[in-house]
Amino acid sequence: MRSCGWAGTILRVDLSSGAIERQPLEAGFARAFLGGQGFAEKLIFDACDFSERDPFSAKNVLCVAPGALSGTLTPGSGRLTVAVGLSPSLGGYLDANAGGGFASELKWANYDAIVITGQAPHPVYLRIADDQVELRDARQLWGKRVRECDHLLQHEVALTQYARLIIGPAGENRVHGSMPTCDLFRAPSAGSTGAVFGAKNLKAIVVKGTRGVPVARPAEAFAAFRAVYEKNRAEARFKRFGEQGTKWLVELSGTLTCQYNMQVRDFPYEHLSIERFRKEFASGSKACHACFQHCDHHWQINSGDFSGEQGSGGEAGTIIPLGPMCGVSDYATILHLTNLVNDLGLDSITAGCAVATAMHWWQEGLLTAADTGGLRLEWGDAQAEEQLILQIAERRGFGAVLAEGTFAAAGELARRRGLELARLTSLIRSNKKRREVPADFRPLKGMAFSRALDIRECDVLNTDTLMAEGNVDYERYRHIGVPEPVARQWADSYICNPMVFDDKSLAKFYSDNHLSVCNSLGICQRFTTWAQMRMGLEDIARCFSAVTGIDVTWEDLHQAGDRIRQLEQAMQLLHGFRKADDYFPDAYYNSPVTQGRFEGAELDRGEYTTELENLYRLRGWDKDGRPTAAHLHQAGLDDVAAKLRAVELLAP
């Protein structure tokens, strides 16, 4: 299919045989699954052997997919999906999402997705320059950190023209929380996708494209862009995101993270103020492709131990786990650690949670110098934190234990020390799917709901009920596709009260569909309601129609979003997840927060179940979360229904 918007080709790479194939994109498939997340899900669903439980098996499927609108003029359309059939840390299908320039470059080279299977006999990297696609020897790159690998690649390809995904030692060593680093500083974090690259002996993918993406109606695309540009620029938050990224959220979030470690109550959050960052470190704004909001910043450290070091990134989601959660309040040290995790190819949330948990165990006397080989994990010791992060990525010392994830580490420690397992696991913040959650969300019901349910960690790119919570704004509800009468009702109801659980299932239903659409088209959340911006589903439909020449309404897109969520649920059921996995660990319920601004707030298990079952109902699932044949048929997913029926996972 050679139409506008899409590139028209899916690239299939079998690392075992070295075979590289091009498969034409089918029009029906493209319209149903859009691109990005939707493509990755369906391509993986079709290729995945759900009986295989080893994520490091050659059979595991890896998919890299740009959004349907990536590479075009659509505002903020530069996001890339990186997905795996079986995530080592989740034990199910997982997709993660990164910004940067890779998604657009892949589109310009004319690929809508890369599906990677097999296992290379020795380390290789994939080089794509338009229709030249080749696997090259990467033995000389193996063992190298991301930046060094980048420097070495520079000798082989002119890197200023290439976009690149590179794994560091963490991915090579199949570490929990590893990811490929995109353009040095961007992370499709979550799910340990880097470990799957590592197991496949795939060190990197570099891409350059000069074919471009044809746009069906350029004048209309210009107009659609202009409309979003003007609306978003008029928002108060616009300037703030441009100047401060998400770093201004660090101080704000302080109250939420305070439960991770007891001492955090008196943590000097003012050391991590956005004013300090801007004054002492920021050296320039940076944007992903096609983004006029430029929330990223390059920074430089000008004094102290790390003087001269520079880098980018350091979202609130990086600074909080690497800093306050481990008791570290020196900004320069946290930025240095940010560079370190990017360079090792380790996601900052997982790494920070692992260190914080170990420090917590240490503090409780559950972990001692005898277990850590002498490394003293005192809370707030940045050097110890750095050592432990290195040990994790390189699987040395106690790091080798934590490299399997905090739950596995708790099990190992319990066995070695003869401790009660529950004492160790009770200090891990996670949901039942055993994904670390870097904050205590008990006070914020919708957020808590999402964190418990979702396949990804604390990730506003996958779900975000907060776009409904806290926004008493009819317009914004419309933006995520809430039908008019419902939106009117919401605008003056308790649904926007984050402290109340009622109707959060509705908020989640609409926001999930909306986010699936965005992730499939490659559109960044910071353009839409999450960041209180004004790019709504209608604007998105307008961009989509102008670029592809296929006229769609926001309702069509909303339905596509539902289809993508149906497929995701089907895959998780096939991987063995059940209703019980849609909860937090038991200890999380009916136990109030004991300190801080939200003292007394708690999550009621009964309320939780009500909303969970409501959400299932909205999706057309039974009360155990199983889809019905009728609903799947309506969504055009008969093949999915057939696969579920064969293993009796379809609702009766």
Binding site: S104, D150, T160, G209, R211, G212, V213, A221, F222, C291
Partner: protein, 155 residues
């Protein structure tokens, strides 16, 4: 006569200018077909727009044997006449700034023509890294910043 002014310190590397350019001229979103290029150095966080300066003494014009590159008196832009262009690409080699390039798909060479006085790249540059200004205005911002520094204020 306005000129296309570049302030690379403001460039975020979003590359919207490239897409706006190629979409306007060729109906395709393709930086390789754009008449300007953004060079990104990820590690240093540097993004530098490489843009035609429409030089007074223009090498591209001088090296062009069939005289296919001529100045448009309305905009002062040097414009390629594709009827005359023989595709020898000497202009691409001759330009000291790398501001010209070879088209990946269609026309032999690519050169900025200032969109006949309405440069699209400028319209899509949020930060003002690219601006279309009267010549006096180009140095004004820098002058006033320097002057402020001289009297001891913040620049």
């Amino acid at each position: 006569m306005k000129i296309l002014a570049v302030d690379h310190t403001r460039c975020t590397g979003c590359r919207l200018c490239e897409i706006a350019c190629s979409l306007h001229h060729d109906g395709v979103a393709n930086p390789a077909a754009a008449r300007l290029a953004i060079v990104r150095w990820e590690e240093e966080g540097l993004h530098v727009p490489a843009v035609c300066q429409q030089c007074d003494v223009a090498m591209c014009e001088l090296v062009c044997q069939p005289h296919a590159i001529r100045r448009n008196p309305a905009t002062a832009a040097l414009v390629v006449n594709y009827e005359l262009c023989i595709g020898c690409r000497m202009c691409v080699i001759g330009c000291p700034y790398g501001a010209m390039s070879v088209h990946p798909l269609g026309r032999p060479v690519l050169k900025c023509n200032l969109c006949d006085g309405e440069p699209r790249c400028v319209q899509f540059c949020e930060t003002g890294a690219l601006q279309y200004l009267e010549p006096q205005a180009v140095s004004f911002a820098k002058r006033s910043a320097t002057a402020r520094k001289l009297i001891g204020g913040e620049s």
